[in-house]
């Protein structure tokens, strides 16, 4: 049965009516009409639906919406604002540095997995601003790319890391 739930997504509070066991993904996609998180497997195997919950990457396809009440959910759309908040100064850029780096190195092919790739690498950079290549590979290992663009993603994360370091200086 539908219940009224309050969730915070991209710094905004939403009141929605939904069955509490509804996976968060379906709420984000249908009720909030967001395009970042998207269905890939529904089994938490691929990372297509990833969002940040209190700064930690989770799989929204297996997370009941009731579980995110009282927490802060950030999707791809909210990443630039979230990044600005992390830096605690300055206005939000148009894109998170890792998004910009994905464009700079022309990393994508179909791009469908990039919601998860960007969310997961933003999580990494928030905790480990200057990751080694091994750290990038290991952190991203739960995210699949069927087009085979892993090498360019690694390159983009390294580039974003450099850019962010330059900004900090």
């Amino acid at each position: 049965m539908a219940s009224e739930l309050k969730i915070k997504v991209n710094e905004k509070t939403w009141r929605i009516a939904a069955a509490p066991d509804t996976p968060l993904l379906y709420i984000l996609t249908n009720e909030l009409q967001l395009q970042g998180p998207r269905f890939g497997c529904g089994l938490a195997q691929c990372g297509s639906c990833s969002v940040l919950m209190n700064g930690v990457e989770i799989r929204s396809c297996v997370t009941p919406v009731s579980e995110v009440q009282g927490k802060s959910v950030i999707t791809l759309e909210g990443l630039p604002v979230w990044y600005a908040g992390q830096r605690r100064h300055g206005p939000a850029p148009e894109l998170h540095p890792v998004q910009q780096a994905m464009i700079d190195v022309q990393a994508l092919q179909c791009g469908y997995c990039y919601n998860g790739m960007i969310i997961k690498s933003a999580e990494l950079l928030s905790k480990t601003p200057e990751p080694t290549e091994d750290q990038i590979r290991s952190h991203m290992n739960g995210h699949l790319c069927r087009c085979g663009t892993y090498p360019r993603i690694i390159q983009a994360v390294q580039r974003a890391s450099q850019r962010m370091a330059e900004v900090r200086k």
Binding site: A2, W14, R15, I16, A17, A18, T22, P23, Y26, T29, N30, E31, L32, Q33, L34, Q35, G36, R38, F39, G40, C41, G42, L43, Q45, C46, S48, T75, L76, E77, E94, L95, Q100, M102, I103, Q106, L108, Q109, C110, G111, Y112, C113, Y114, N115, I118, I136, R137, S138, N141, H143, L144, C145, R146, C147, G148, T149, Y150, P151, R152, I153, I154
Partner: protein, 738 residues
């Protein structure tokens, strides 16, 4: 129906504070064109492009952007001929009421087949525009120059824009095909690595994938099938459906036509759980050989024999100084698009609109019209990009299933396959049995070559149509079946061989899994078999495998990619397996050639083999493609990277598993693919040939890379693998028999 986000209630949920946004689905410039069923007349310039008042152009292209960047490259060709900036030119999504029919987006042919038409149409429009400008500016055409769509008179300040000359009006000009096109020496935009036009929106999350499209009043649908297909033609027979089993989901409705079964609901989650919860008793009679019996069944089957190519006399095989023979097996592999296919259908009594991710809007329109019993003019198909498909994944099946559900529900239905539907009911790249014999004389010249290939054809009938009652046999096999045979280019075609025979053994498709084209169809299997034999001959002759290939190479294009890959890898002269080590982890390097239907591919692989665990790690892949004129070398580079990584995945991990009842590879756990931690370093090499015709670059280095990996394994271990993927179990078995 109009396509837009449904801002109102979905599944009874109340949305508060949702910001109204622009309609994402409006197609400006195309609206007037959308009123008649296509295809529009290809003999009219207006079919191909429109010039707008704001001095921009829309090019109507019949090829689908699948994430390979062809939309950017084709626009480069048009911009070049029109002398427009890339920022002044765009294209529209494919739509059977709007875009021309250039055939399906298959065989990496967008640029090769579609490019000349787009280029020619643009050149024709430019010539017409210059004529108009000449009249307007009162100057001869020979004195006119164009930059960014502004026509100027040499030595004068007079100018006029394209937009001012035609501004959204039609050209009404027949497409003669004879306008002068620019010679490559004048290219400014073509040949440049222009950043792709779709990437920024894909990164920001504003790009609209098929999976994002919603229409007003639609229901969410899911199909209900056994998890894992049965033999093609055997269907999936329903013995009983217990509708009471979903009574606790009042919003969900069961829809059925013969064995085609689905559920619909206003709320997506209701549809998802109803499909999972619905109790269905399926007929589980065994119809398949299972993995373990597959190759035996293929060997034993009565196959139709076709000679693909023959020259000279392969009896020379038995008299040559050195001869090798090899039999290899290759598994079914899955397209497994990262996002399962999705479609929306709105079927009315006398017409239908279907939005889906087909690679061929006109082809799909034909099969959907047949499914509905409507004339094709009453069916409209629109394309939205889904996730990468790499060939014929379930995009047609999901379109048919959505169509059936919409017809049964008498409402628009959005259907997204679940992971197990996509993985389990894919049109797999078919399994293959290859037998090769090759021989060389004492000087290291190839004298004879013979290849026999066993495989079944591509399946012509989609699962949905079949389950709904269309007998598979009646629909037959796909029209492109000619492609599905021993490939003369990958099987020996790169060498000068006086005596050669290629034989195709076409197996009947029934009693196997559903098959279709999967990126570089069967070429990985051909090259794995054939190029290992070539490599083995070099070994028998104590020759370096690169040198042996060079000595026998067919032409300079093949030599170009062979040398480019070798050079990138800093290949050093050595006989394979000449440095075998007793270490637990050993390394090897291999080289290979191969392609698909066109272009030329060469690759080098560096791998590591753990002899204790059987684990193979691909450390570095170097891949070279010669695709003639690379319109956008950046795109070709990306395509090479993707092909190399996907080949590593297919050689190490990918294998569709199935029992005698059905497929058991239904998700990423049961069908693993390559991950970040094991991704090789990659070095893409684009062999740019500005004066050659462009040819495909989306699948032409996979065969070479597959061969290079197999040959690297031999270099590391002294053992030939006869089957892929090179899983630990298979590797340990091969090493223990050596």
């Amino acid at each position: 129906m109009t396509l837009r986000r449904d801002f109102l209630k979905t599944g009874g949920a109340l949305v508060v504070g949702f910001p109204l946004r622009e309609s994402l689905f409006a197609q400006p410039s195309a609206a007037a064109r959308g009123t008649l069923a296509g295809p529009p007349d290809p003999k009219q310039v207006d079919t191909w492009l429109a010039i707008h008042s704001d001095n921009t152009a829309t090019v109507y292209i019949g090829f689908a952007e699948l994430g390979q960047g062809n939309s950017t490259a084709l626009l480069q060709m048009a911009a070049e001929e029109l002398d427009l900036d890339m920022s002044q030119i765009k294209t529209v999504r494919l739509d059977t009421n709007v875009t021309p029919n250039q055939g399906g987006t298959y065989s990496s042919a967008s640029i090769q087949r579609g490019g000349p038409q787009v280029r020619q149409a643009a050149a024709e429009a430019r010539a017409a525009l210059l004529k108009m400008a000449a009249a307007k500016l009162d100057a001869p055409v020979s004195l006119l120059t164009v930059s960014q769509g502004v026509v100027s008179v040499k030595g004068s300040s007079r100018s006029v824009t394209y937009g001012a000359l035609v501004g959204d009006k039609r050209f009404n000009l027949p497409f003669s095909g004879s306008a002068r096109v620019k010679p490559p020496s004048e290219y400014k935009v073509v040949g440049a690595a222009i950043p792709r036009n779709d990437i920024p929106d894909k990164v920001s999350g504003t790009y609209v994938y098929m999976q994002h499209v919603r229409v007003p009043g639609m229901l969410h649908g899911r199909v209900v099938r056994p998890r894992g297909q049965r033999a093609y033609g055997a269907g999936a027979k329903i013995l009983a459906v217990d509708e009471a089993s979903i009574r606790n989901i009042p919003g969900a409705r069961v829809l059925r036509k013969a064995d085609f079964l689905g559920v619909v609901a206003e709320n997506e989650w209701d549809a998802v759980r109803a499909a999972q919860q619905l109790k269905v008793t399926w007929d589980n009679a065994p119809t398949l050989p299972g993995n373990t019996g597959l190759y035996e069944q293929m060997h034993a089957a009565k196959a139709e024999e076709q000679i693909v190519t023959t020259r000279g006399d392969v009896a020379a095989l038995s008299s040559a100084a050195h001869a090798v023979s090899l039999t290899c097996h290759a598994p079914y592999q899955s397209h497994a698009p990262f996002g399962p296919n999705c479609a929306i259908a709105d079927v009315k009594p006398d017409s239908a609109l279907i939005v889906c991710s087909t690679q061929d809007v006109y082809g799909t329109r034909g099969t959907l019209a047949r499914l509905l019993g409507l004339p094709v003019e009453k069916v409209r198909v629109q394309y939205y990009e889904g996730s990468g498909t790499y060939g014929h994944s379930c995009y047609d099946d999901v379109a048919q299933a959505a169509t059936l559900l919409s017809k049964l529900a008498a409402k628009p239905v959005r259907l997204q396959f679940m992971r197990w539907d996509e993985h389990g009911w894919d049109n797999y790249g078919p399994a293959h049995v290859g037998e090769v014999r090759a021989a060389a004389d004492a000087d290291g010249k190839l004298v004879a070559y013979e290849y026999h290939g066993w495989q079944h054809n591509w399946s012509g009938t989609e699962t949905s149509a079949q389950l709904a009652g269309a007998p598979a046999a009646e629909w037959g096999f796909g029209p492109a079946q000619g492609v599905q045979g021993v490939n003369p280019r990958t099987c020996g075609g790169m060498y000068k061989i006086p005596n050669l025979r290629l034989v195709n053994h076409k197996l009947p498709g029934m009693g196997y899994l559903k098959g279709a084209w999967l990126r570089s169809p069967l070429d990985l299997a051909f090259a794995f078999t054939s190029e290992q034999a070539i490599d083995q001959l070099a070994y028998e002759l104590s020759m370096d495998p690169h040198e042996f290939r060079r000595n026998n190479i067919a032409d300079e294009r093949w030599q170009g990619v062979l040398d480019a890959a070798a050079k990138a890898a800093n290949w050093s002269h050595h006989r394979a397996a000449s440095n075998l080590s007793k270490d637990k982890v050993v390394t090897g390097r291999g080289i290979g050639l191969g392609t698909h239907l066109q272009s030329w591919g060469g690759a080098v692989a560096d791998i590591e083999v753990n002899k204790e665990t059987g684990r193979v790690a691909v450390k570095h892949l170097y891949g070279a493609i010669d695709a003639g004129l690379a319109v956008n070398p950046g795109n070709v580079e990306s395509q090479i990277i993707g092909q190399l990584v996907q080949t590593a995945s297919r050689m190490l991990h990918e294998e569709v598993t199935f029992s005698t009842t059905g497929v058991t590879s239904v998700d990423w756990t049961s069908y693993p693919i390559l991950r970040f931690e094991e991704c090789p370093a990659v070095t893409p090499v684009v062999v740019q040939r500005l004066t050659e015709q462009p040819s495909g670059a989306g699948e032409e280095v996979m065969a070479a890379a597959a061969a290079a990996i197999a040959n690297a394994f031999f270099d590391a271990t002294g053992v030939r693998m006869h089957e892929f993927p090179l899983t630990p179990k298979r590797v340990l078995a091969a090493l223990s028999h050596a």
